[in-house]
């Protein structure tokens, strides 16, 4: 017997992923904002001896899909037909959530309603008669507060009952009025004649066809039932004339009327009072204080990241310096000792030293995310974003870009309009990902001591500013049109849980460690080889240890490329670091560590850099690293998401040009100002 399969569905940000994790024991990313799940995810759990497979679907508001993630959800429910569909409903927002529930019931799915966030509803003074709701819907309704783990066992029981067939085939239906019902029945008869449509519930198809649902029309057409489509079109026209209303609006209105009546029967509202969320929203989405509050919180996140990480960075620094010394002293073969101590340990150590910063930044961002603040930030920024030709929905992928551009670009799937999505993808690499942070921290610590937090913050702001300018240019010259207006749900503010924040911190930090152990080791080994060996016609294979880095392969290559960057005042080592940064931006710091042969990469490397850079050339270098070419993984993701090489190549080209231009401007203006004031 095949393992029974259930699907988790619901509106965005109702806690589906929390339920998924609670059911399966998985550790999927949970966010207090809409759009966390953009792909379906699978897990499994065992209950009363039965293994059950669970699929977590992206959040949708209706079964009429507008974006890719909505289509993923609907197609799964309708075509794969899981044994049960668990509809997670926000109890504090019943009216809006029940619309999807009604549509699910119309498909004939075995629906189990998980009435989540009961605690939020109670805080708002709402009392819900769960049994009455279950009677009306003719489906099991389980009250829960998933984030506290309440109601999970009851939900498992309800799922088990549904799957094992005790409660099968109860189909609650919304009545659409005598006249319309007659047409529905007539069309159902027409549909039943078409054998290839027997897998679908005829009433659901009939209602969808009368609504003019494009996706359902496509399904019927694919099934080769053109006659049904023709009949439904004439019926829709007739009905529309009789009723004096567009049919899709008519059906939606009837559903909402039904919901309104149902909510009136099952829910009692308390005295109207402001919740803590209402109060905070009044300030954080205020036209005057919204943006300053956003900057305050982001600034605090960066200050925290920089200042609190210092003791941990010093611990890592001390550890790697000790490890390199021990390695050098214990290995007699000079080439091997140099590879391990000067190559791998120096290179990887100079990158890993920034691990505490990465951990702390993600910890701070996850606190902001889990609290529900990021949705407010999107709302506050929407007006400004609309002016530059971006939809408010772009804000979420842009913020995710601060972590890693790869998931950020994937998250653009929540943007319905193709042009809006394309612009968001193309400017996303300008959002400073965590891989670039070590470069900023290294240079800010060396050249801007005392103002490190502000200098690093300025890099992030520069990335945002350049993204704004590029969005304007792309909208004007390449991807024309107006952005779609933002319709976004504001989740209630919640106290972030330490467990969830630490989990996210670990997930992102682990990726960084993994990269250090793979790509960075590979990169710094090549850098070590190029900086340690040179060409010699007399030696075997033509290569020999150079003894002097200035005569190494790396020096030849770097000196050959260096004239291109001469206006910025960077030496060949800086150019080599940029070259290797093509693979992954973390390698920039690792390359410096290897080229200067400094273990750990802390103050030692900073002192070494102070001999090669000025504050102006260092700032220009930081800006160049921020902007120039996305890493290989990001390029591959742009290709996958746009389905063409044209767009990643465009991103590489414009980012290289822009990086050079910005670095040159910083150098020229900075040096001129230093000449005047300095």
């Amino acid at each position: 017997m095949e393992m029974p399969k259930i699907a988790l569905i619901g509106n965005p940000n109702v806690g589906k992923t929390v339920v998924f994790n609670a059911l399966t024991g998985a550790k999927q990313h949970v966010g207090n904002w809409p759009g966390v799940t953009v792909e379906r995810r699978e897990g499994r759990f065992r209950h009363r001896g039965l293994d059950i497979s669970v699929v977590d679907l992206p959040g949708i508001y209706t079964l009429s899909p507008f974006s890719i993630d909505e289509k993923i959800s609907r197609d799964y429910i309708v075509d794969k037909r899981p044994d049960a569909v668990v509809d997670i409903v926000d109890a504090s927002n019943l009216e809006r959530n029940l619309y999807l529930t009604l549509q699910l019931l119309e498909t004939g799915a075995n629906v189990v309603v998980g009435l989540n966030m009961m605690d939020e509803a109670e805080k708002k003074g709402m009392k819900i008669d769960v049994e009455r709701l279950s009677e009306i819907l003719k489906a099991p309704v389980v009250p829960m507060s998933a984030i506290k783990g309440e109601g999970i066992d009851a939900l498992k029981d309800a799922i088990y009952e549904e799957i094992t067939g005790h409660e099968h085939h109860r189909h609650m239906a919304v009545g659409y009025g005598e006249e319309v019902e007659r047409y529905i029945v007539e069309l159902e008869e027409e549909i039943s004649k078409c054998k290839s449509l027997r897998d679908y519930r005829s009433r659901w198809l009939a209602v969808g066809l009368l609504e003019g649902d494009g996706d359902i029309i496509c399904k019927v057409r694919k099934a080769g039932c053109e006659g049904v489509i023709e009949r439904s079109e004439s019926m829709r026209d007739e009905l529309s004339k009789k009723i004096g209303e567009m049919m899709d609006i008519y059906f939606a209105d009837r559903r909402y009327e039904f919901i309104e009546e149902m909510v009136r029967m099952v829910m009692v509202r308390g005295k109207e009072k402001w919740t803590f969320s209402d109060m905070l929203d009044n300030v954080f989405t205020n036209p005057v204080f919204g943006i300053p509050s956003f900057f305050l919180l982001m600034w605090a996140a960066f200050q925290f990241t920089f200042a609190v990480a210092e003791p941990f960075m010093n611990m890592i620094d001390i550890g790697f310096t000790w490890l390199a010394d021990v390695t050098r002293a214990s290995i007699s073969n000079p080439a091997l000792a140099s590879l391990l101590a000067d190559g791998i340990i120096s290179g990887v150590g100079s990158v890993l030293i920034f691990l505490p910063n990465i951990f702390l930044l993600f910890f701070a961002l996850s606190l902001l995310e889990d609290s529900g603040y990021l949705s407010r930030a999107a709302f506050v920024m929407d007006k400004s974003m609309y002016k530059i030709g971006l939809p408010g929905k772009s804000f979420v992928p842009m913020l995710l870009g601060f972590g890693c551009n790869v998931p950020a670009i994937m998250s653009t799937r929540t943007i319905e309009d193709r042009n809006d999505r394309l612009i968001t993808i193309l400017i996303n690499p300008l959002m400073s990902c965590s891989a670039r942070l070590p470069v900023y921290l290294l240079f800010a610590g060396a050249f801007f001591a005392g103002n490190e937090g502000a200098v690093v913050f300025s890099m992030y702001l520069m990335g945002i500013l350049l993204a704004v300018i590029m969005a304007l240019l792309l909208r004007k010259f390449l991807v024309k049109g107006r952005p779609a207006p933002l319709i976004m749900e504001m989740p209630p503010y919640r106290m972030p849980t330490l467990k969830n924040s630490l989990m996210k911190m670990w997930e992102n930090g682990y990726l960084f460690i993994k990269k250090a152990g793979t790509v960075i080791v590979f990169g710094v080994t090549i850098v070590w080889f190029l900086s340690t060996y040179t060409y010699s016609p007399d030696a075997a294979y033509g290569i020999v240890m150079s003894g002097d880095i200035e005569n190494s392969f790396a020096a030849y290559l770097g000196q050959w490329l260096q004239p291109i960057f001469a206006p910025m005042g960077w030496d060949w080592k800086a150019v080599m670091a940029l070259l290797f940064g093509f693979i992954a931006k973390e390698i920039v710091v690792g390359t410096f560590g290897t080229l200067y042969g400094v273990e750990g990469g802390g103050e030692g490397l900073q002192n070494a850099l102070m001999g090669s850079f000025t504050p102006v050339s260092a700032y220009a270098y930081m800006a160049f690293v921020l902007i120039y070419v996305p890493c290989l993984a990001t390029i591959a993701t742009i290709k996958a998401e746009t389905g063409s090489w044209k767009w990643p190549l465009l991103a590489i080209a414009y980012m290289m040009g822009l990086a050079y231009l910005v670095a040159l401007i910083i150098s020229l203006v900075g040096n001129a100002l230093m000449g005047v004031f300095g």
Binding site: W274, F276, M279, N282, V283, P311, N314, I318, A454
Partner: protein, 139 residues
């Protein structure tokens, strides 16, 4: 209800102090030294952040004294931001102490810890009494 009005006035006073210290901090950044001990470190951005908190606390102070939700909401926003900044500076001081242990140096007080921001965050704490008694407020 009467007990909350003095607290509302108190939070207004703290809001004014936030504005004052934020302005001093920016002034210090512009002019350099400032001759008072334990004063802010002259970080313009940090000063601007203190001014934002002070402005939020004072923006609807009249409504707060009149026990209206509108006023209470700005106190709640100010409390949250002031708490975040205060905790951040406490963590920075704690990390610095830990760092002195790691590198084997003697720890000493650094004005960079921004003592006024910590003290003001603590002095603002009674404001939570108003938020907790939100039911006493009206539209």
């Amino acid at each position: 209800m009467k007990g909350l009005k003095p607290i509302a006035l108190w939070t207004g006073l703290i809001g004014a102090l936030y504005l004052l210290y934020g302005s001093i901090e920016i002034l210090m950044w512009v002019t350099g030294e400032f001759p008072f001990p334990l004063m802010p470190p002259g970080d313009a951005l940090a000063g601007a952040m203190l001014i934002i908190i002070g402005s939020i606390l004072l923006y609807r102070i009249r409504e707060l004294i009149a026990m209206k939700y509108e006023g209470l909401s700005f106190l709640a926003g100010g409390l949250v931001l002031s708490g975040i900044i205060g905790i951040m500076y406490i963590l920075i001081a704690g990390a610095d102490m830990l760092n002195s242990v790691v590198v084997g140096e003697l720890w000493a007080f650094d004005p960079g810890y921004n003592m006024p921001a910590i003290v003001l965050a603590i002095l603002l704490l009674p404001g939570w009494m108003c938020v907790r008694k939100g039911a006493d407020f009206c539209e």
